[in-house]
Amino acid sequence: MNETTTYTGFWQESPRPGILGWLLTTDHKRIGIMYLGCIISMFIIGAVLGLALRLELIAPGPTIMGPQTYNATFTVHGIIMIFMFLIPSIPAAFGNLLLPLHIGARDVSFPKLNLLSWYCYMAGLVLVIFAMFGGGGVPDTGWTFYVPFSTQTTTNVNLAAFAAFMLGFSSILTGINFVTTVHRLRCEGMKWGRLPLFVWTLYATAWIQVLATPMIGITLVLVILERTFGAGLFDAARGGDPILFQHLFWIYSHPAVYIMILPGMGVVSEMIPTFARKPLFGYWAMALSSLAIAFAGSLVWAHHMYASGMSDLAVLVFSFLTFIVAIPSAIKVFNWISTLHKGSIELAPPMLFALAFIFNFAIGGLGGLALGAAASDIHLHDTTFVVGHFHYVMFGGGGFALFGAMHYWLPKFTGRMYNHKVAAIGWALLFVGFNITYMAMQAVGIMGMPRRYYDYLPEFHTLNLVATIGSWMLAAGLIVMFVNLWQGLRKGAPIGKNPWGGATLEWAIPSPPPLDNFGPEDPVVTKGPYEFKGVVADEY
């Protein structure tokens, strides 16, 4: 990079100066950065609550909190982690930062809508804060809002449900934007077969956001209406059906887990070729399996309900469909591993996260198979095994992918590099601590400890203690990682255009990117996203 001294990038260039330049911006990169800031803050709040949960479970009986506090804590932990952290994480933050760059566009299709979606997200955030501190009591329904409990409890469920509604709306707007952008704004030469995998997964995710999210909207509105009018739509005594609520809830919330994991898979599919300097193995299989996951993932929601009292025929059908979703995931895992074959592998920090992703996701996903089988789920349902399963896929998968993305792309957007050694230490602590924590949770779940229990029988003590200790190691790893990133990205050594030797479009423009992304000329693409011949990594 020649103009290092004068070059400023999108951080400084802006039609409006100062804070308004951010709050009123329609630039996808600035909106992405604002999302990222909020998401990481929410993650830290949620994670501290998670740590508190583990601390309570360090020994049987109330240790640091009573039952009501515990229930409120896991509810808020769950709502934050799902609706405010993981669902928007990669799509809204890195999707916004990268989607236009990846397809050679100057922005998304609807920049103003994009900003509106960030404001919806903020509104949801503020509402949750009101729900927590606004009197009436912190919501205590669990993130699942199951009726009839959620229509009876006296806590601030209405506000929390409305907050989730707003967050859903924000997610829908992002989805609409991304689908349209991918269809309409690909630059010249950017054929479907040349889209980076990250774009494919964002595209598949965006369809889920568009087609599934409204269902949670109407479901939560119904909960609010039930609470206000007492209509009894889910009350069996008045002709309603409480199990129907669960259908409506999971029709969204199962596809939502693929909103959480698909973009992560996309991130990993970017990093593995780059650090193996080899084209992604089975490009079309990878692209189509993303769509397959999105589609098949919409058919399996009732696997959360085998023990709910629904019909046995439904158990048969949904168990079958659940196993079908596992197949495209398996295809992805095998293709990632084959990409390594005969490559030239560098274990840079993002690659460490990518490899950890594969391992964690495999454990979580294979655990999902035990949950998908009808007989074994009857035992495992609503035990801490399920809690272990979803932390493996959501944190070990989605979370690790996000951290990987931060290590991989943030230098691009700040123009500075963090310390690689410290990053590796943070990663190791995180990886080991993570596995100790959640492996122990899975084990105690197999023994039969139910979830959402603040107190438990003595025979579950040892493993819970192990899990709690693991969570401290995890926390230490996270702190090391965040501090290192923060310092590196602000004060680290300046980097050139392409620190990793990546072949997608963003690596061909200066770091940080200029406000108009590609300068005056629109880019023209002539080769696939993983053709590394002739691409050289900059020294930094």
Partner: protein, 404 residues
């Protein structure tokens, strides 16, 4: 997880072992392959990749078909064993479990109730699940069975204990503050012990009429001791005068056999003044003529026996879930403790106003029957009204509490 050779546990364990086994192999394979490749093709050894292979149709086909076959076996095995959890052997003993915030009550075919699930060994047990408020879930880890109790919908589980012992029951569906405390146990008893347990404790000496009154739930509304509630007491009826209204016209009758017969067969034709027409009518399908006679005889003649009704207040507190929220040892989490309640001064909130009262019989009766009208300060208004208990039972509980 005690490893038990009971049928439901075996059905589930087979599947668990199969799936976990295959998964472990897959995980091992994936991990070893990754580590091997990462080490072998490290950049320090291979500065440039030695292939730029874009993929391979055959490999893609293999790792589409192979996983498909694997998951299909898992699915099928999981499903067939699941049917084993759903098909109840014909000779099962049927017990009804009622879940409520936050306790379990088990009711046996003979009407006996308990708060632990006593079962004989080597006998299939079918447990019908009911809920009176929110979702709960019956979870017995040792038998690997679990099913939600859903208000208004009938669900069930079945299991068979093959060895005597005590096995945990958890509530596995989140149901509020007391969720983690909603635990009890299955007490599997050897046949002989179970036989003794299921003997009626006191051989019935009570008159037939009284039995019928209890069985049909009359005592749910009517007291037998003179205390008036939602329905007139049935205490010492013989010869009493009653003000009744027929089609809105008031008149007075003296209680006799005929009056009682009409009052039971067609209760709403003649209403006792001051009461609502809420009593169901009992035709001869539910109440045979003989039993009706027995009831009337009992009501008119053997009044004195009413006092012999024995109620064990301690059992009532346990079986009705009071102990699920109220402790007897002075600890307080969800609800005020019963310990020392008799000498207590309570601060209550009624209609938004705070006031302090001394605990007495009337206060306790209000607290039991209309718990949410006067809330003890600092506690949520979550206590269900105990109005399904008979007046006698209420009275017994109050007396018992005052002795605490």
């Amino acid at each position: 997880m005690n490893s038990l050779a009971n049928p439901t546990a075996q059905a589930v364990d087979n599947v668990l072992i199969y799936i976990f086994g295959v998964s472990l192999l897959l995980l091992l394979g994936i991990t070893v392959a990754t580590i091997y490749l990462v080490v072998k093709y490290r950049r320090s050894k291979y500065p440039e990749p030695t292939s730029d292979c874009h993929g391979n149709m055959w490999l893609e086909a293999i790792w589409t078909i192979l996983p498909t076959l694997i998951v299909l076996t898992m699915f099928w095995y999981g499903w067939t064993n699941y049917t084993g959890l759903r098909e109840v052997p014909d000779d099962a003993l049927e017990i009804t479990a009622t879940a409520r915030m936050w306790s379990w009550q088990f009711e046996y075919p003979d009407g006996r109730r308990a708060n632990k699930l006593y079962v004989p060994v080597n006998k299939p047990i079918k447990v019908h699940l009911k809920s009176t408020d929110v979702l709960h879930s019956f979870f017995a880890p040792a038998f690997r069975v679990k099913r939600d109790a859903v208000p208004g919908i009938d669900t069930y589980v079945w299991f068979e204990a093959t060895q005597p012992g005590s096995y945990d029951i958890f509530c596995a569906e989140y149901c509020g503050v007391g969720h983690a405390d909603m635990t009890t146990s299955i007490e599997a008893l050897a046949e002989a012990e179970y036989a003794t347990w299921s003997q009626p404790q006191q051989p019935s000496t009570e008159p037939r009429g009284l039995t019928v009154l209890n069985e049909l739930g009359c005592t749910g509304c009517h007291s037998l001791d003179g205390s008036e509630g939602i329905a007139p007491s049935l205490f010492e009826l013989s010869g009493q005068q009653r003000k009744i209204s027929v089609d809105g016209k008031l008149s007075e009758v003296t209680i006799d056999v005929e009056y009682l017969r009409r009052a039971i067969r067609e209760p709403n034709a003649e209403l006792v003044e001051g009461y609502d027409p809420m009593m169901p009518s009992y035709d001869d399908a539910t109440l045979s003529d003989e039993d009706l006679q027995a009831v009337i005889d009992y009501l008119l003649g053997k009044v004195a026996e009413a006092e012999s009704v024995q109620i064990n207040a301690n059992e009532l507190l346990e079986n009705n879930g009071c102990i699920g929220c109220h402790s007897t040892d002075g600890s307080e989490s969800i609800a005020p403790t019963f310990k020392g309640i008799a000498e207590r001064e309570v601060t209550i909130i009624r209609d938004g106003q705070e006031m302090t009262l001394k605990v007495d019989v009337d206060y306790l009766r209000r607290a039991l029957l209309k718990p949410n009208e006067e809330l003890v300060k600092g506690f949520p208004g979550i206590m269900p009204a105990a109005d399904y208990l008979s007046d006698d039972e209420i009275e017994a509980i109050i007396q018992h509490l005052l002795k605490q």
